[in-house]
Structures are given as structure tokens and as C-alpha cells.
């Protein structure tokens, strides 16, 4: 087609790309994600293999470092680079899984609450209020206490903590849309509740949800790291950035790299995701877009 009008998503991408910081962050994050994805091929060693002769070996640029262990080894002689790469898979995967696990039911509950304001909304929203009243880390600890530690349970625990945010956001966005004429129009045209929810209203509520998803992705990585640090998250010998920090904290003074490197990995990826989230918010905010 000669001059097909740009779709809203393409317009949003254009205004996202105009934000240099967000674009750079997207690049950095893509690099981290790619490295994590390709860990089996990139990692020089097995992440759980212990080289007992090379415990706490320094990185290759420091005195006594060797090329065999580019970023040094940890207290059990495991290669730091390999552990960071494999840990990225778990940390990022955990973030992604918990965002999906909280976003999908959260959006569903929010839409249901918005469409059944008299019957179901009070029940759903009061339960969400109760969940919001508990500190999210405490809630996650409670859930793990019940379910037991482990990778999947960590994701579930973090997801439960993020659920109220998604529910409230989806409900608020849907309520703003429900009052508009196009919803009435499609109801008149014979659309049932399910169709109204998912085909008519949901696409118009996506902008705030996408932004919230990106921001809660970073907080999920932090929560996972926090739970790992407390020993409740991912269990040894699996490499996860928070767990790596936790087990290495005794060696902080003797071998700075065992704490610094996983910390840096968390810092850089969370910062990148937050910058992406900010860029998305600017690009998708209807008020800013209308003004342009």
C-alpha cells in the first residue's frame, strides 16, 4: 500500500526511539538477555563444577588472575563468568515468569471487576486491598514458607506480591474505557461480555499495563535476588545472582569480585529495564501523544 497510515504501535515505537536513554537501555538489556540465552555456548566452564585448586581466584586483570577464569572463581572454585551467564538465565527467567504469572491473572481479575461492578468487584478489590496491606517481601516469605523454596515457587511468591498492582491498574484503565461510546456501540452491535472485555476494552488499556509490566519485571529481579540472599529463593548449587551475592558475602573483604560482579549484573539489568519502562511510559502515555 502506497501511504498506509502508521499504526499506533509504530508511532509509539518512533517516540520511544527518540528517547536516547531508553534506546541505549534497550540495547544493553538485549545484550544481557542474549548472553543469558546463549549461556550454554558462551560459558567457558560448567557453572557448578568446582575447581578445588583455584578457590577464590582473582579476575584475569588482577594480580594472580588467569585466562582460564576471566572473572575469577568463587569460594568453591566455580567460574564466575559461567555462573553469571547461567545465573542471568535464572534471574531474567524468574523476572519474566513472575511478571506473566501476575499480569495474566491480574488483568483478568481487573477486567472482571470493571465489568461486574456490583457483584464481583467488591470481593475482588477487597482481597487485593488485604494483599496490598502486607509488605510484598513478607508476603513472598509467607508464600515460600508454605510452598517450600525453589525456582517455581519463588516465581509464584513474587507474582502473588505483584498481583494487586496489576488488578487495580487493569480495573482503573478498563473503567475509564467502559464509559466511552465505542463500548456502548459494540454492546449494541451484539458483543457479549467476553468480547467486550478482550476485543474492545483490553487493547485500549495496554499502555499502562505494558509500562507496569516492565517496571515490575525489574522489581521481580530485585525480589528474587532478595529472596535468594535470604536463602529462601533459588537453592544451591543453581546459580542465581541474588543467591550468589548471599553465599559470597563472607568473602567480601578478601575477594571483592565475588560480591561485586553479581551485584553489578543485578544493578545494570534493573537499571536498563527501568529506563526502558520510563521510555515506554513516555511513548505510550496518551496525554503526551495527543499533545504531540
Amino acid at each position: 500500500m502506497a501511504a498506509a497510515p502508521a499504526s499506533p504501535w509504530r508511532e509509539s515505537w518512533r517516540s520511544f526511539a527518540a528517547n536516547r536513554g531508553a534506546l541505549a537501555a534497550l540495547g544493553v538489556f538485549a545484550l544481557i538477555a542474549l548472553a543469558a540465552l546463549l549461556a550454554p555456548w558462551l560459558a567457558p566452564h560448567d557453572p557448578v563444577l568446582q575447581y578445588r585448586d583455584h578457590m577464590l581466584a582473582p579476575p584475569m586483570w588482577a594480580d594472580g588472575g588467569s585466562r582460564a577464569f576471566p572473572l575469577g572463581t568463587d569460594e568453591l572454585g566455580r567460574d564466575m563468568l559461567s555462573r553469571l551467564l547461567w545465573g542471568g538465565r535464572i534471574s531474567l527467567g524468574l523476572g519474566l515468569a513472575s511478571v506473566l504469572l501476575s499480569m495474566l491473572p491480574g488483568v483478568l481479575l481487573g477486567l472482571v471487576a470493571a465489568f461486574h461492578q456490583h457483584a464481583l468487584a467488591p470481593v475482588i478489590m477487597r482481597v487485593m486491598d488485604v494483599m496490598l496491606a502486607l509488605p510484598s517481601l513478607l508476603l513472598a516469605i509467607c508464600v515460600i514458607t508454605v510452598l517450600g523454596p525453589g525456582l517455581a515457587n519463588t516465581a509464584i511468591a513474587i507474582a502473588i506480591g505483584a498481583l494487586p498492582g496489576f488488578t487495580r491498574l487493569a480495573r482503573a484503565a478498563a473503567l475509564a474505557e467502559i464509559g466511552r461510546d465505542y463500548v456502548t456501540a459494540s454492546r449494541l452491535a451484539g458483543a457479549g461480555t467476553g468480547r467486550l472485555m478482550f476485543a474492545a476494552v483490553l487493547p485500549n488499556c495496554m499502555a499502562p499495563l505494558i509500562v507496569n509490566a516492565s517496571l515490575s519485571f525489574s522489581s521481580a529481579i530485585l525480589s528474587a535476588a532478595g529472596l535468594g540472599f535470604l536463602g529462601l529463593g533459588v537453592q544451591a548449587p543453581l546459580a542465581e545472582w541474588g543467591t550468589m551475592l548471599a553465599t559470597a558475602r563472607d568473602y567480601m573483604e578478601r575477594a571483592g569480585w565475588v560480591v561485586t560482579l553479581p551485584g553489578l549484573a543485578i544493578l545494570v539489568s534493573v537499571l536498563a529495564v527501568n529506563l526502558i519502562g520510563d521510555g515506554l511510559r513516555d511513548a505510550l502515555d496518551p496525554k503526551l501523544k495527543r499533545a504531540a
Binding site: A2, A3, Y182, L188
Partner: protein, 319 residues
């Protein structure tokens, strides 16, 4: 459908929102292909009456009626599924603000195609062809390109045309237009009205025009119903009612048209506002604002008699 069946037959329609009675015992009858104007100021219940007919009054609104028939079927007795099938295909609505009445997330072509798919089972190339045909029918130039545009990329007049194209997509028996031209500028208004008139006569489609613009009613409709505070106060054929209004409210509405006030220092206006939920007078609802009100008007509520709800109708009905 038998010959005696009206397109729309409403008897004693009442809509309550809590303590507020938005529509109060309205009777309306519309024959197939007839064009009716419903006139009244804001809050007079004209839009709610039509929403009730379309079964779109949701909680906390309560709809009651002795009879609410469309094409001879009582809408109050249909199941939700049957109602959606009947109303979606044979009844359509054009809204005041077309931009907000179109879904911002889809192209206008996709939105029209959705209606075609749901009610007529048209898909793919057949649906696409019909979409372009409809867009051309509502006089949208360059329909091929416009079908792929999003609502925010089109002008208000274009969006209103798209809205009309979507409304007539299934060749409805009844088209309800809720102030379809209010948001448009004057030249576009005239085009949209001419379009509605043409479509209604060509397709034998009943048209209900909800408006506060009497000029629109005069041009477009055959009959007009004047509503005030949820009640029907006067009903009559179009030229007669304009020449000799019998209800003081109709008279006041006509007197407030700027053209009738040419040369006068001030526009004539009806003082006061429509009574709310808690200040409804015991007698005639217009009595506090009526220049002709007498004691009886304040004490007793007049019935709708011979097309007018007034104890002291103005002038005499035309023979």
C-alpha cells in the same frame, strides 16, 4: 411481519435511576420507514428513552414498561442472546461524538468488518469488498486508503461517516441517531443530514433523531415528539407542530431559535432548568417555568390528551 405491526411500539416506559425518574410513562410508536425526531433540552430523558429501547440501560437504572416492542417482539421477554441478535442486526445507533464511539485500537475498516462478520457471516475478501462499498455509500472519498486508517487519523466528519457506515452495515430496520451533527461544523452537518435522509429513504429504514436542534428536526423528520423532564409533552406531524405549537414548552423552544429573534436585543429563553430528582413539582412539571401557568397547573398533573400534555394548549389544532 404483519401489516399492522409497528417498527417500534413503546407503552408506558419508565426508567428510574435510584430516586430519579429519568423517563416517566413514555408512549412512542414508529411505523416502518418513518422518521421521528425527539426533541428536548439536556436531561429531558430523550437519550435514556432510546437507550432503554436498545436495552442498554445498566444498573443502577431500572426499566419498566407495559410494552416495549421492536418488530413485533417484546424486548423485555427475550433472552440476552436473542436480544443481542435482534438488536445488533436490526437496530443501530449513531453517536454524538464519533471519535469516542470508534475503538481507537482498530482501523475503521476492521471495525466495520467485525460487524459484518458477526451478523452477516462475511469474511476475508467478501467482507473487505463490502467495507469499501459501505464507505463509498457514505461518500467517503478514497475509501481504500481510509479503511486502513485509525479513528484518530480521520476528521470528525469522516469519523461520523464511518460510524454511519458501521450502523447501516447490516441494513437495520431502525437507525437511532443521538445528536449526530452536534460535534460537527455547519457545512459537514448539512452533508451528514442529507446522507441520513438519503439512506433512510433508499433503504426504507426507520430513523429516530434525538436532538435539541429544531432545524435538524424540521429538515429531516416527518413527526416530532417533544420531551420535558422525562415526559412526552407534545407529539405531532412536523410542519403543523412548527407552525402552531400547542404546548407552552414547544412554543418556548421554537421562540428560542436565533432566527426568530432577529432584531431583538436579547434571545428569548425559557427561564430556569429542568427539575431534578428532589424538586419535581406536584402539578405540571413545566409549571414553575411556564408563563401561562394557572392554579390548576400547579396542583394537578395534566395528562397527554390529543397529542399535548397541557390544560391550556396554545392556539387550536390545525383542522
Amino acid at each position: 411481519m404483519s401489516a399492522g405491526t409497528a417498527l417500534v411500539d413503546i407503552r408506558g416506559l419508565t426508567v428510574d435511576f435510584g430516586s430519579l425518574r429519568a423517563v416517566d410513562g413514555v408512549d412512542l410508536r414508529l411505523e416502518a420507514g418513518e422518521r421521528l425526531g425527539i426533541v428536548g433540552e439536556s436531561g429531558s430523558g430523550k437519550s435514556v428513552t432510546m437507550l432503554a429501547l436498545m436495552q442498554l440501560v445498566g444498573a443502577p437504572g431500572v426499566v419498566r414498561a407495559d410494552k416495549l416492542e421492536f418488530l413485533g417482539r417484546d424486548l423485555l421477554e427475550l433472552s440476552a442472546r436473542e436480544r443481542r441478535a435482534v438488536i445488533g442486526r436490526d437496530m443501530a445507533m449513531v453517536f454524538q461524538d464519533a471519535l469516542s464511539a470508534l475503538n481507537p485500537s482498530y482501523t475503521v475498516g476492521a471495525q466495520i468488518a467485525e460487524v459484518l462478520r458477526e451478523h452477516l457471516g462475511l469474511r476475508g475478501a467478501a467482507a473487505r469488498a463490502r467495507v469499501l462499498e459501505l464507505l463509498e455509500l457514505v461518500e467517503i472519498p478514497d475509501a481504500k486508503r481510509r479503511a486502513d486508517a485509525y479513528p484518530h487519523q480521520l476528521s470528525g466528519g469522516m469519523n461520523q461517516r464511518v460510524m454511519i457506515a458501521m450502523a447501516i452495515a447490516c441494513s437495520p430496520r431502525l437507525l437511532i441517531a443521538d445528536e449526530p451533527t452536534t460535534a460537527l461544523d455547519v457545512t459537514i452537518q448539512a452533508q451528514i443530514m442529507a446522507l441520513l435522509l438519503r439512506l433512510s429513504t433508499e433503504q426504507g429504514m426507520g430513523l429516530v433523531m434525538i436532538t435539541h436542534d429544531l432545524a435538524v428536526v424540521a429538515e429531516l423528520t416527518q413527526r416530532v415528539a417533544v420531551m420535558y423532564a422525562g415526559q412526552l409533552v407534545e407529539e405531532g406531524a412536523v410542519p403543523a407542530l412548527f407552525d402552531a405549537p400547542r404546548h407552552p414548552y414547544t412554543e418556548a423552544l421554537l421562540a428560542a431559535i436565533p432566527e426568530h429573534n432577529r432584531g431583538a436585543a436579547r434571545l428569548q429563553a425559557l427561564p430556569g432548568i429542568v427539575p431534578g430528582a428532589h424538586d419535581r413539582p406536584a402539578g405540571c412539571l413545566l409549571a414553575p417555568r411556564c408563563a401561562y401557568a394557572v392554579e390548576r397547573c400547579r396542583a394537578e398533573r395534566p395528562p397527554l390528551a390529543a397529542g399535548v400534555r397541557c390544560f391550556l394548549p396554545r392556539g387550536e389544532p390545525k383542522p
